[in-house]
């Protein structure tokens, strides 16, 4: 979808929302919003779509309920502001929105909100109500992460390549809705957990040898990066290969990329990439590549995370993941991407990734 189209859709949805409320008022009814419930108990794994989704259960937020009215007002404030941002062609950060809309309520010492926990929750609600990602409401995510590879993009009138940028890449901004893909020359998107591993692969010119777009989200990828890769993968149809640490966090990151997260279950379909594949690190790599000496102890926090993983439906859905978790649990160790440096610095680019890519040695 082009920028103009997404903006149009968003404006339509906002106007529809306003109309419904006004209709209620005209009928002398207290205006109320139907909000798809984002509570954990309403999150489930949709096996058909292969994403973490909400059940569709809705709660009502009414103007005339004393415990709702403040949030009701906040929801309308954000809706109205969003309409304005779209019309003015501006994108705001969460914190910026918080300040932009913060003011005293007439005749009181109360503010529209007191901290950005309040505004953040309302932004999520609005996403769920309208069923569009916040970026389409011109509210951007944290900008973090970068891409390096043979692809030409266009944004804000600029056309630019993401290769030939030395050892750095293009810093992925918080809003990528209006990024257009002009051209690319790659066979896959490699989604890399650690920025240092991306640096290694940039240094090894792996974008060329692996024919890959090298993306990192620097840890658990923020929404901006996820939305960017989602767009890339949808528009290029390239396979997405996830390369993370062989530990409960790495698998969790993969699960977020592939199936989405519980926190944004109401809008996961705009972020998750069900066909993403897991290339490594795996527990079997430890034996295969003789990495026993550079495993790390699975500490208490990691063991807890592992247990949580195993309790999720979408983990149980993949016997291969469960198998990895169990092996990890049994061995009591984890293995980081960079542990491959123990073989040699270039090992990851020369041997590990090419072998796995060629043999399609992936986990789902």
């Amino acid at each position: 979808m082009t920028k103009d189209n997404t903006d149009k859709l968003a404006l339509e949805k906002l106007n529809q929302l306003g109309k419904e409320l006004m209709d209620q008022l005209d009928r002398k009814e207290a205006p109320s919003l139907k909000i798809p419930s984002r509570s954990r108990s309403n999150v489930e794994f949709d096996q058909e779509k292969e994403i973490i989704d909400i059940t569709g259960k809705k709660s009502t937020r009414s103007f005339i309920n004393a415990s709702h009215v403040r949030k009701f007002m906040q929801t309308l404030l954000v809706a109205q502001a969003s309409e304005e941002y779209i019309k003015n062609g501006r994108t705001v950060g969460k914190r910026e929105l918080y300040y932009n809309l913060k003011h005293k309520l007439t005749g009181t010492n109360r503010n529209t909100w007191d901290d950005d926990d309040e505004s953040s929750a309302v932004i999520d609600d609005l996403e769920a109500i309208l069923d569009i990602p916040r970026s389409q409401l011109h509210i951007s995510a944290k900008s973090r992460g970068s891409i390096y590879g043979d692809i030409t993009l266009k944004q804000a009138g600029d056309e630019f390549s993401c290769k030939g940028l030395g050892k750095g890449g293009w810093a992925i901004p918080g809003n990528v809705e209006d990024v257009e893909i002009m051209d690319y020359n790659a066979e896959r998107i490699l989604f890399i957990e650690n920025d240092a591993m991306q640096s290694r692969l940039i240094e090894e010119k792996a974008y060329k040898s692996l024919n890959a777009l090298l993306v990192t989200g620097e840890g658990v990828p923020p929404r901006g990066v996820r939305r960017f890769v989602k767009k890339l993968s949808e528009e290029t149809k390239l396979p997405v290969i996830v390369f993370v640490d062989g530990d409960p966090y790495g698998f969790y990151i993969h699960s977020v990329i592939k199936h989405g997260s519980m926190a944004i279950a109401h809008i996961n379909d705009r972020y998750s990439i069900p066909r993403a594949k897991y290339i490594g690190m795996t527990m079997d790599d430890i034996d295969k590549y003789e990495l026993h000496n550079v495993t790390e102890h699975l500490d208490k926090g990691a063991r807890e995370k592992l247990k949580h993983n195993l309790s999720y439906e979408w983990f149980k859905y993949h016997p291969e993941w469960v198998d990895q978790m169990k092996k990890m649990q049994k061995k009591g160790v984890r293995i980081e991407q960079q542990a491959l440096a123990n073989k040699s610095l270039e090992f990851v680019a020369d041997t590990y990734l090419p072998e796995k890519l060629e043999n399609e040695e992936f986990l789902p």
């Binding site: 005209d26 205006p31 007002m73 309520l105 009181t108 109360r110």
Partner: protein, 520 residues
């Protein structure tokens, strides 16, 4: 018969008196620590004084004075308005341990051991060498006065300087000098003891002169004397074989049947018949002929019978109304509640009643330490100040999850518990704490929980009315913002939108009583 040589050591075989024992071990009577010793003596004398007046049926009036005589040297004066003591009983009443009217009787009293007053006299004697002055009169114009000391080895009183003269007086006055003690204000002081005595005994007038010369007069909150507790009969529940045989041996009854019906409470004729069916011997035999084994059978039969609870007239608690009045006047609380439980039985067939008062706000609570809760413990209306940690009351209070009732460390709360019984199971001869008998703790818990529930409702409900008034304001605060945003999104007129919203709010609160309406 051959002569058996006596081993050397038996040459020194002696008998000695209970007074000697407690002189050597006076810490067991509460005389340990300089501050505690002073409060202990005030406690012993006041206990006796109040009992005396009440037994006669007189509204008690107490005069208590502590005079500083020198460093760590005080004189304690306690005077009551009771019947006075006959000259020939003065010695036994105050100068002989384990003698008196209290120990044998199965009746609720403050004192119960027959040790306390003599212990106080002895403490004065061994720290100052001076006797205790006793002045007493029946109110008939004749006054008897004497100096009393104790022959510790014999556990006998000695009266010297006896005088008789004419004068206006009714009651008894004791004056004892003491050394090695300290007067200090605070939660263990005589002042606090007096304060609490007044609280649990709103029918008593107390005049108290402290060592600094300040006089406090605490007037009666209630002008009627509490009913006298009836002399109780033991209750069959919790009876032991030894108790039963003991009662049987002194019974006037000819048959065990009548012994059971006459000498115990709550054993009816029909219960006796049921019991007969369960035992292997004839209940028509003489009580004194009952064997240990037969008594065991009876006890077993008792355990299977369901006796009624003990009668209430043998136990006279403070009473809900009196306690309420006292709490109100002394603590001026914002909220208070009083719970009086029904009588129960603990081991040995002893009946007891638990009363609880909770006072919230006003002068309630304590500011000592991290917790603002103040626990006031009483046994037969006598304040217990020491050995808090070992006491059944403390255990009961601690077993309650106060948070559930909206009470936290900061809640200004006074918890008053009065344990009323014919025999208080003190942990030691110093009468400082009630032993942790299961039945007692259970009753305390039930009473405390009941009271806490009421308090909880108050604490939680307090803000409801206020809240509803606030609620409407809340809507009015958010209304303009909602109107503005909504009109901007829809392009409708802001004023009109606001009016529509106002209508809805007014409709919603049309029933609001400004002076506090019902809650939704």
């Amino acid at each position: 018969m051959t002569h058996i040589p006596e081993p050397q050591q038996f040459k020194e075989f002696k008998e000695h008196s209970v007074a000697e024992f407690f002189k050597k071990n006076r810490q067991m009577l509460g005389y340990s620590g300089k501050i505690k010793s002073l409060t202990t003596i005030i406690h012993e004398y006041c206990t006796n004084a109040i009992d005396a007046a009440e037994e006669e049926g007189t509204l008690p009036e107490l005069y208590v004075e502590i005079k500083e005589m020198g460093p760590e040297h005080y004189k304690v004066i306690v005077e009551d308005n009771g019947p006075g003591i006959p000259e020939n009983y003065v010695g036994k009443a105050f100068g002989q341990m384990l003698a008196g009217t209290k120990f044998h009787r199965f009746v609720q009293q403050r004192g119960q051991q027959g040790i306390g007053a003599a212990g106080a006299v002895m403490f004065g004697q061994v720290t100052t060498g001076k006797p205790t002055k006793v002045i007493t009169s029946h109110g008939n114009g004749r006054i008897f006065e004497a100096n009393l000391s104790i022959d510790v080895k014999k556990n006998k009183a000695e009266l010297k300087n006896k005088k008789k003269y004419s004068g206006e007086m009714k009651g008894t006055r004791l004056e004892t000098e003491l050394k090695n003690i300290i007067y200090q204000k605070g939660m263990y002081s005589p002042d606090e003891y007096i304060r609490r005595t007044a609280l649990a005994n709103p029918h008593i007038k107390i005049t108290y002169v402290d060592p600094e010369g300040a006089t406090t007069v605490i007037d009666r909150a209630i002008n009627e004397i509490p009913k006298r507790p009836k002399e109780a009969k033991p209750h069959p529940s919790g009876m032991t074989v030894d108790d039963l045989l003991g009662y049987a041996s002194i019974s006037q009854s000819q048959k065990i049947k009548s012994f059971l019906q006459n000498d115990f409470t709550r054993i009816s004729r029909s219960k006796t018949n049921k019991i007969q069916k369960k035992v292997s011997f004839d209940l028509n035999k003489r009580p004194s002929s009952m064997t240990w084994e037969e008594a065991e059978e009876l006890i077993k039969a008792f355990e299977e019978a369901n006796f009624m609870a003990p009668p209430t007239d043998v136990l006279i608690p403070i009473g809900e109304k009196r306690l309420e009045k006292a709490v109100k006047e002394q603590l001026e609380p914002e909220f208070h509640t009083v719970i009086e439980r029904n009588p129960e039985i603990y081991r040995g067939g002893v009946p007891f009643i638990v009363e609880v008062a909770l006072a919230y706000g006003g002068k309630s609570g304590s500011e000592n330490g991290d917790d603002n809760k103040e626990i006031m413990r009483f046994a037969n209306r006598v304040p217990l100040l020491f050995n808090k940690g070992s006491c059944a009351v403390t255990k009961g209070v601690k077993s309650i999850e106060w948070k559930r009732y909206g009470v936290d460390e900061k809640t200004p709360l006074t918890i008053l518990v009065n344990f009323t019984s014919i025999h208080v199971p003190y942990i030691g001869a110093g009468k400082e704490a009630i032993a942790n008998e299961d039945e007692v703790i259970k009753e305390m818990r039930l009473a405390l929980m009941d009271a806490a529930r009421k308090l909880g409702r108050y604490v939680k409900g307090k803000k409801k009315e206020y809240k509803r008034l606030q609620k409407k304001k809340t809507f009015e605060i958010y209304l303009p913002e909602v109107a503005k945003a909504l009109s901007m999104i829809t392009g409708k007129d802001e004023k009109k939108t606001a009016q529509l919203l106002e209508d809805i709010v007014n409709e919603r609160f049309s029933d609001l009583n400004i002076n506090g309406g019902k809650d939704d």
